[in-house]
């Protein structure tokens, strides 16, 4: 893996976006453009995943599902403990931040896919299921942690069942999850001939569209990053340490429990290391209005996302390679 192979266009466009933000350029993509590309990318990743799944053994998908649920439930608890014990972060902010780290970032996942494609590494069909599954459970855990925090704080805990129900329904009717699952189902259902007709749109031009998405994300990350002073040194360090903790879990699970190839391990690691900025923030805003959104948004968009895109992915890949070469258990 030479340096030039690290120069994946998608990542360079991310850097370009951050640079534009840094030099205070007036570059700005229309907000609707962003929404459109996200819709397109989610459908593309779903279709591709669905097609791959259709050709693979569905029984073997079960371990991936379990792993996804374990990450979604376990990682927020780890995060909460670290934030409370080491950082003395107040309980409700800790709960809101933690929830983000149990969920995933489709943008990071797609960048990893682009990275692997760029260096010609293949991967299993199952991580995409994990991507779809991991969006929601963390939100539930976030709710539980927030409820626990309120009890700790001694405040009256209005057992807001309505809110709880509302959020659970939200978590499953959420637009991006629906698109992902829906297009996975469609990708799995259609015939090869039919799939070939839509492949040019959803696969051939996918990597290029991803570049534009990441350029926009770079600007967004840059904007958020500039607020990191208001967030403090501890939280910024947490925003880098937490994905590393997730990554260790991901590497372990991907290699020893799931037994995937290097590409597959990399993707599982990226999922465990990444942190949501789509489904979780609005849910936490609603469920934990006492928490400061600028904390979790700065961490998720301004620190963890760029860290994963620029530093994380190649490192996770290198680690997966090392692990695979060293502890090949079969």
């Amino acid at each position: 893996m030479s340096i030039s192979s690290l120069l994946v266009p998608a990542i360079l466009f991310f850097a370009l976006g951050m640079f534009a933000c840094l030099i205070k350029s007036d570059l700005k993509f229309p907000p609707d453009m962003h929404k459109m590309i996200v819709i397109y990318l989610l459908i593309g990743i779903g279709l591709h995943g669905g097609k791959a799944l259709a050709g693979s053994d569905m029984g073997s998908a079960l371990p991936a599902v379990w792993a996804a649920l374990a990450f979604g439930c376990g990682l927020p608890i780890v995060a909460y403990i670290i934030l409370r014990a080491l950082g003395k972060i107040d309980p409700l902010n800790a709960a809101a931040i933690s929830a983000h780290y149990g969920s995933v970032s489709a943008g990071t996942y797609m960048t990893a896919v682009a990275f692997l494609a760029g260096i010609g590494v293949t991967y299993e069909a199952y991580p995409v299921i994990m991507l779809a599954i991991m969006e929601s459970p963390a939100i539930m855990i976030g709710l539980v942690l927030a409820g626990y925090s309120r009890r700790v704080l001694g405040g009256e805990v209005k057992a807001d069942k309505g809110m709880m129900k509302h959020l659970i329904i939200d978590a499953f009717t959420n637009g991006s999850i629906l698109l992902l699952f829906g297009s996975m189902a469609i990708g799995a259902a259609v015939s090869d001939a039919s799939y070939h007709k839509i492949e040019p749109f959803f696969e051939l031009i996918f990597m290029g569209a991803l570049c534009i998405f990441l350029c926009d994300m770079g600007m967004e990350a840059g904007k958020r990053l500039s607020e990191f002073k208001s967030v403090g040194v501890f939280l910024v360090s947490f925003g880098i340490a937490m994905p590393l903790i997730g990554a260790v879990c991901g590497l372990f699970v991907g290699h020893f429990l799931l037994g995937y190839s290097v590409g597959g391990i990399t993707l599982v690691t990226v999922l465990a290391a990444s942190c949501s900025y789509i489904a979780v923030p609005p849910a936490m805003r609603l469920a934990v209005p006492e928490a400061n959104p600028s904390f979790y948004l700065t961490l998720s968009l301004g620190v963890t996302f760029p860290f994963n895109v620029v530093v994380g992915i190649p490192s996770y890949y290198a680690a997966a390679q090392y692990l695979h070469a060293t502890y090949y258990p079969w």
Partner: protein, 109 residues
């Protein structure tokens, strides 16, 4: 007033700002009070007791809507009394002021 008063009708102007999510319920309440005209502005942002809302924000996607409605005083009372009990949950704000309707367009109030 120098504008001939026979082309002006004294009225109330009600201006409501509310989270986009609650708009359907609010409009239903307005329809129930036989309001026959209002104007809606979408994608507004703002600051309030629940923090900032910015329709262009990438992650939070929270929008305000503004409803402006002109009506006669008794109907304004009607509207206010109807929505008043729900305002606590809606949040946002509801302002009333005096205005004058220029006679001419269909009487959609």
């Amino acid at each position: 007033m120098v504008i001939p008063t026979d082309i002006l009708i004294p009225m109330k102007r009600i201006e409501i700002v509310i989270n986009e999510d609650s708009i359907d319920e609010l409009l239903e309440m307005l329809h129930a009070t036989d309001v026959r005209g209002y104007t809606v502005i979408k994608k507004a942002g703002g600051l309030g007791s629940t923090g900032m809302r910015d329709p262009d924000d990438y992650a939070l996607k929270e929008n305000n809507m503004i409803i402006v409605l002109a009506c006669k005083e008794d109907q304004a009372k009607n509207v206010i009394m109807t929505i008043h009990p729900r305002l606590k949950d809606f949040g946002g704000m509801c302002l009333i002021s005096d205005c004058q309707w220029t006679i001419g367009p269909a009487e959609s109030y």
